[in-house]
Symmetry: C2
């Protein structure tokens, strides 16, 4: 009697598996075609709850060309050289693709939670995760989080079985043994972790006891997630930020004679070079972001900075409109790719602030999107600072008259003709709006770890000296 | 009188600089537009000969959005984890772009040459470089190599001047001092190095004494290089390889019962897992390349391999037609990006052999191009092996009848429908040509460091066991 009932249930399960598999494949191909969103599946759980098996099954069902798998490499040196979240950003799937993340940004947290006496997670860790997930969801990345669980008894039994054979014993790592030994504590801590990170993307706690049942459930959730993305279900738009008082962009000119300029330039470059060669700088990094209207002299100022450095020590990242490939990712992705390594000077010629400048003024981003960007940008800078970077931002302010003169000079000089394009003249028409956008940007993102400096750039030489002086001041304070 | 003559020469120089600058900018924009080729400028030289200054000048003349600069980071851990040339491949400019490489693949060679008693370079080092440059030139990358030189007297004087001021003293590194001390020896060794690597792309030895003169000369060479690329001047097509005797692709079936299969599969997977967990494997890597006609069972065989591994230890790279972005690079670029790290298992589901299979049969590559690929491919595999990788290649052979059955089964199964596309039916029409191409490929690339194994894949289960057995045999030999 029991057997017959069981086999009826088996048949049901089998039919359900076939159905979801078929639907999942269809949804994946549709996702690939429409590029409506990307999907990140984060899978966590206790050892022997079947994470690898579930992922293996899903991979053999889906078209593997459009899926990538990321598992944390705990020894990857390149990760340690860069801010914590870089490893996840660089592995984010493009729209149209699915990314499976073993542990994802929860990697190491359970063990950390158990080992910490207080059994709590520090607020910053949770904040970092919630902020990321909220942003991803709003930027077209749907995040599905699954935790697989089995009872202590079953876990021990599975490990016993694996240990029984020489051929499967290798599967048991020191980590697994630790998790089994701390089964109850891990459980409690995992529950608390889920509760603390349920805000933007909710967790699904699944029973890993039954191999087919568990993959069925994960597959259904994944299907649901892809379908939600296909139907355009994205996060609620963030609330507009509270109004903020802005100040007009203004900086006094600081004229300088040619002789004075040469003399001071060399002195500042020398001092700057000495500071970046300090032993202490090897654990830090310097990130400089240059913004300002066209022809404000960003390139010239940057060259005066880099001339002081060894070519091996710095990178200059010129930022223009995102490419077709870059548009398949959240807008901060291309900047995270360039996250500073320890000991490096990274200089952005225009930056992530394009979101709240050109994209806002020219209508390339929705108001809800550029409005939430202030917070997201500050978070990016904060995370880089947490890894040791010194972030300094410059607004090179050029008057409408001076800009006109420089445009004319550039256009008549064949050697500089590439520096003016029709877009620049178009942008010039929006000078007032840019000034307003810049004023709001500075009011909202001038934070103590990553301050703005406004430079009167009508006199190029004076502007270059001011930039170097400001950098020196920051470095002297920080090192 | 002398002054007047000098100032006339100055005016001439200035006019020449303006002229070349103008022409260079025009050529760069044309290069960007047409994407006719990419240009790599390798700049080597003795300290204080002005390498950095020349590059800085060029960067301020060109549109920096389409130029990238690469200087060797002698401490980058990610480089040491991967084959030697990976760092250069990953920094290659796409067509339409210019890449400036400080030292490039000559990095460290001068010091090495001086320190080596024999004062010679080992043949393999020169061969690796010549092969790379020959291939780049044939794949649309023009390589310009400039060595800047100054006399010992001038070098010492410049270093003395730098040392005189606290603000410039930092510019002198221990490296510079070493080079100054070994001026004559470095000279001799550099000459020998240039003579040994003149074959594909010739060297230009320039005098670095005069700041404006030297940048003028480099700029002219660069202009010439871009123009040659724009005019479609590429390398002479390589000579067709000598005819080679091929053998029909044939492998005896090795039938297996279901029970036997399950039993042996588990045993092989267990043994395989144990081998990859050996301490000694941490310094090696395993690269598996799977080729074979559509529906030969590559995916299934790969899954049986990966099931034995921890998800953190392996990567599967599905290879299909190159994307538009990938087509902007030499055809091996996308495979070099996936070069194995130490301790890793990298599995290619189709591989670089596409060049001499599908691209040959379907006419996507010119005969001269796929004919030279045999050597280039063997060189890639050899370089990976030199870094410790164990390379194993499989040809899964499926008969025309069996393939027909599998296509039909796939098409009628909604869960596998994505596995058959119209291209597959088209490829099937060329079955005979594929067999012939595969036979030639195996005759030409079956080298001892990276052997081919032909597997009769008409019986899927038997094929999977054979694959695992072969891998185990290789690993047991190598570890």
């Amino acid at each position: 009697m029991k057997t017959r009932k069981n086999s009826a249930r088996d048949r049901e399960l089998k039919a359900a598996l076939t159905e979801v598999r078929d639907a999942l494949l269809g949804a994946q191909l549709e996702l690939k075609r429409t590029k409506a969103c990307s999907v990140v599946l984060i899978i966590t759980g206790v050892p022997s709850a079947g994470r690898s098996e579930v992922v293996n099954d899903l991979l053999s069902w889906l078209d593997p060309k459009h899926v990538s798998v990321y598992s944390p490499d705990r020894e990857a040196c390149e990760d340690f050289e860069r801010p914590l979240m870089w490893r996840y950003w660089r592995n984010l799937p493009a729209r149209g693709r699915i990314g499976v993340f073993f542990e994802g940004w929860y990697d190491g947290l359970l063990r950390k939670g158990v080992k910490d006496e207080s059994k709590r997670f520090d607020a910053r860790t949770l904040e970092r995760i919630n902020q990321l997930e909220r942003m991803l969801l709003q930027d077209g990345v749907r995040v599905l989080k699954v935790h697989l669980h089995v009872s202590r008894v079953l876990q021990e039994q599975r490990i016993r079985e694996l240990r029984a054979s020489k051929l499967t014993r290798w599967r048991i790592t020191a980590r697994d043994v630790w998790f089994t030994r701390h089964h109850e504590e891990v459980d409690r801590v995992a529950k608390r972790l889920r509760a603390g990170t349920h805000e933007a993307c909710s967790w699904h706690l699944l029973d890993g006891s039954h191999p087919e049942q568990r993959v069925l459930e994960v597959a259904r959730l994944l299907l649901q997630e892809i379908r939600a993305g296909l139907a355009g279900q994205m996060a609620e738009p963030a609330a507009a930020p509270k109004p903020i008082e802005t100040r007009p962009i203004d900086a006094a000119p600081q004229p300088v004679s040619d002789d004075q300029y040469e003399l001071e330039l060399e002195e500042l470059q020398g001092k700057f070079a000495l500071l970046t060669r300090k032993k202490r700088f090897e654990k830090r990094a310097l990130v400089l972001a240059f913004e300002g209207m066209d022809a404000a002299g960003k390139g010239g100022a940057i060259r005066r900075v880099t001339h002081a450095l060894d070519a091996r020590q710095y990178r200059v990242i010129p930022v223009s409109a995102p490419s077709a490939d870059e548009l398949l990712y959240p807008y901060l992705w291309r900047f995270w790719r360039e996250a500073p390594q320890r000991g490096e000077v990274v200089i952005f010629d225009r930056s992530w602030y394009g979101r709240v400048l050109v994209e806002r003024v020219r209508g390339f981003a929705e108001p809800a999107d550029w409005q939430r960007a202030y917070e997201e940008i500050v978070e990016l800078e904060r995370q880089w600072c947490e890894h040791g970077a010194i972030v300094q931002k410059f607004w090179l302010s050029v008057s409408l008259d001076e800009q006109q003169e420089r445009f004319a000079a550039r256009e008549s000089d064949p050697l500089k003709r590439f520096k003016v394009d029709p877009e620049d003249w178009e942008n010039r028409k929006h000078y007032g709006e840019y000034q307003q956008a810049a004023a709001e940007m500075m009011a909202r993102t001038d934070v103590s770890v990553a301050p703005w400096t406004i430079i009167n750039a009508d006199d190029k030489k004076s502007a270059r000296l001011q930039v170097l002086r400001q950098i020196l001041g920051r470095l002297a304070d920080e090192l």
